[in-house]
């Protein structure tokens, strides 16, 4: 049974001159307790997808989907109120800017307490004990002190821990972390990611880790989805993607990160995709990577569909099956 199944989720932005699609027919599956990494560049729609699942899109956005099945119930069939309550009980989300995602006018205690109370946290004393426990769970040294503080008195890393504690207060089956460490320092980053992974494994809850940093996903995730320009380009197990990426975009992303031991040698260059990420209202015809793709062929002006490839996963590329066949031939 799946924790999350999203089929053909589209999100568009309403303007005076019509709808601008931001997310295009995204389909994603997550098993119980699975850690899914979603990687993509800014504006690729990866955050919009998360907000759409959580029902947090701004009023100017429209979403459509065949179904969004979260822990056995289809969100698309619920009324707005039911849906909000159901999602809040099953899923939680943390954002990129920990400072901004906590209310600056309330103490940590009152924000945590509010959440615990709303999710049926019992009496005042019980709630306080629960709050202390939660802060302890996320590795905060002196929970009693932190409870009395306000977000601006805490560092970014601490605030992110508090945000995680608040998300855990809902006892979610699914935790979505939208660029949780981008605003943090390297050493703090790894602590937060480790914490998220540890909590997810301990509670057998799903974790969706959204980031632009491939390296971050390589160690921690079970499966990875690669998003480009609003479309899911590749969706497969982490080791598959890392060892033999099928989509040229994924390959380019992996190649454009300097490799270990790759030292300054005159004339050596990194692999880099040409050109710029297309503006969302000026998408190319056919494959959205087309004009930048080093392997583009004539057939790439036709829009590729997301196709399953045996023993691998799903890929949106005309050339993917060919190359995998070639690979199979070579193996035999």
């Amino acid at each position: 049974m799946h924790l999350l199944r999203v089929e053909n989720l589209s999100v568009s932005y309403l303007t005076e001159s019509g709808e601008v699609p931001i997310v295009d027919r995204m389909s994603i599956k997550m098993g119980m307790g699975e850690i899914l990494g979603v990687v993509g560049e800014s504006g690729s729609g990866k955050s919009m997808m998360a907000l759409a699942i959580m029902g947090l899109l701004s009023p100017k956005m429209r979403m459509r989907a065949d179904y969004i099945n979260l822990d056995g119930e289809d969100l698309m069939k619920m009324s707005v109120e039911d849906r909000a309550a159901y999602v809040a009980s099953k899923a939680a989300i943390i954002f990129q800017e920990p400072q901004a995602s906590l209310n600056p006018c309330f103490s940590i205690a009152s924000q945590l307490d509010e959440t615990i109370a709303f999710h049926g946290g019992g009496g005042r004393a019980d709630r306080k004990t629960k709050a202390l426990e939660l802060l302890d769970d996320v590795g905060i040294n002196r929970p009693d002190l932190v409870l009395k503080m306000y977000p601006h008195q805490l560092s970014g890393g601490m605030n992110q821990r508090v945000a995680i504690a608040m998300a855990l207060a809902c006892e979610p089956r699914l935790l979505i972390a939208d660029e949780p460490t981008t605003a943090l320092d390297v050493t703090i980053q790894s602590q937060i990611i480790e914490l998220l992974v540890k909590l997810s494994r301990a509670q057998q809850s799903g974790l969706m880790l959204i980031t632009h940093d491939f390296a971050l996903l390589s160690e921690n995730t079970d499966r990875i989805g690669v998003v480009y320009s609003g479309q899911l380009m590749e969706h497969a197990a982490t080791e598959n993607i890392l060892s033999s990426p099928h989509h040229p975009y994924t390959k380019a992303l992996l190649d454009s990160i300097p490799q270990l031991g790759d030292r300054h040698v005159k004339g050596s260059r990194l692999f880099a995709l040409d050109g710029n990420i297309p503006a969302i209202d000026q998408l190319p015809v056919g494959c959205r990577l087309g004009p930048r793709c080093p392997k583009a062929e004539r057939q790439c002006v036709n829009t590729p569909e997301l196709r399953s490839i045996e023993n691998y996963g799903k890929v949106r590329c005309h050339l993917a099956s060919v190359s995998s066949v070639n690979k199979a031939e070579a193996d035999s």
Binding site: L51, M54, G55, L56, S58, P59, A84, A85, V87, A88, S89, A92, I93, F95, E97, A100, S101, L102, N103, P104, C105, F106, S107, E114, T115, F118, H119, Y150, H152, Q153, A163, M166, C170
Partner: protein
């Protein structure tokens, strides 16, 4: 927190100092010297600095001079006229807040919809209203044509109310006359039109500020977090968003005080309201410089004090400022 109060207190002293420097400077620049009392006259000599300190000394003893019109102490007169003004301005501010906050919140919730556009354009009309004309129009319509509101003054002359606190609404209730309750009602009726006239511009401003502060708050990350937690809509608006929006709103309320005093002068003239405005206008028509000096000093000190108080309040509602070392 104590350090903030200390700092604001210093600013208050500094403000009052510049103010007295200003009034003292005026009194020196003009040939008609400002003499607060006979004792004060004796101390005046050639040294400016000494004169200033004497001036301060007399002011702080409460010797603000005698009115040239009535011959009474200016400070005493101020306290006779001030309650009427305070009553009117307080109620006008409450009126503007009670109406402006919900309107602003409602507009923010419906951002860019027709309700929002209607509210925003109405506030622009209110903001562009010359209030002396607005007052006359209201009097013409409600008092003179429809006759459902009194034309002027604080209370009907058939009621004889002993001034105890100076606030008509309280005094009528305190009165032991048999018509105390009727008088209270009558006083309320007299307040309606002046309140609307004086409150119109603050109402327009509060509505706009509330709207934009709420729009800012509602589009912030922490509201998204609150929504994700599944909190009820009303709680998100009235607790999480409004609490943050209060910071700019309180700041603007503070800035309105001096604008409100200007409005009071006009409103009191239209409604023959026996307050500070009437008192000062009388003084200027009859060139009573001592009264004007006292009035200017009292009102400006008041505005400075209120501004400082609001500043402290801003620090109180904003935890970021509260904990600043």
């Amino acid at each position: 927190m104590t350090s903030i109060i200390f700092r604001q207190f210093l600013l208050l002293i500094l403000g009052l100092f510049t103010l007295t420097l200003f009034t003292f400077g005026i009194s020196q620049l003009f040939p008609d010297p400002l003499i607060l009392s006979d004792a004060h006259a004796k101390t005046i000599n050639d040294s400016l600095i000494e004169n200033y300190f004497n001036y301060i000394a007399f002011l702080s003893q409460g010797e603000w001079g005698l009115s040239r019109i009535s011959g009474r102490s200016v400070l005493d007169e101020f306290f006779i006229y001030f309650p009427a003004t305070l009553e009117l301005t307080t109620i006008a501010i409450i009126f503007a807040l009670v109406l402006g906050l919900p309107l602003g919140i409602y507009a923010a919730e419906n951002k860019n919809k027709w309700q929002d556009k209607l509210i925003v354009s109405t506030t622009l009309i209110g903001y562009s209203m010359p209030i002396f004309w607005w007052g006359m129009l209201l009097v013409l319509l409600f008092a003179l044509t429809l006759g459902i509101s009194p034309v002027a003054s604080r209370i009907g002359f058939e009621y004889d109310i002993l001034p105890v606190t100076g606030f008509m609404l309280i005094d009528t209730l305190l009165s032991d006359q048999p018509y105390a309750l009727a008088a209270f009602q009558n006083a309320l009726q007299h307040l309606v039109l002046p309140t609307i006239v004086l409150g119109t511009i603050p109402l327009a401003i509060f509505t706009r500020v509330t709207r934009s502060a709420m729009i800012d708050a509602l589009s912030s990350d922490y509201i998204r977090t609150a929504k994700a937690k599944g909190l009820p809509y009303d709680r998100i608006i009235w607790s999480h968003a409004l609490r943050n929006a209060m910071i700019p709103i309180v700041t603007v309320i503070g800035l309105q005080i001096s604008v409100l005093i200007t409005g009071t002068l006009i409103t009191e003239k239209i409604f023959a309201w026996p307050g500070i405005g009437k008192w000062l206008l009388e003084a200027v028509y009859r060139r009573d410089l001592v009264t004007l000096h006292g009035g200017l000093l009292a009102i400006a000190s008041l505005v400075i004090i209120v501004n400082i108080a609001v500043e402290v309040l801003v620090h109180l509602v904003n935890p970021k400022l509260r904990h600043k070392k």
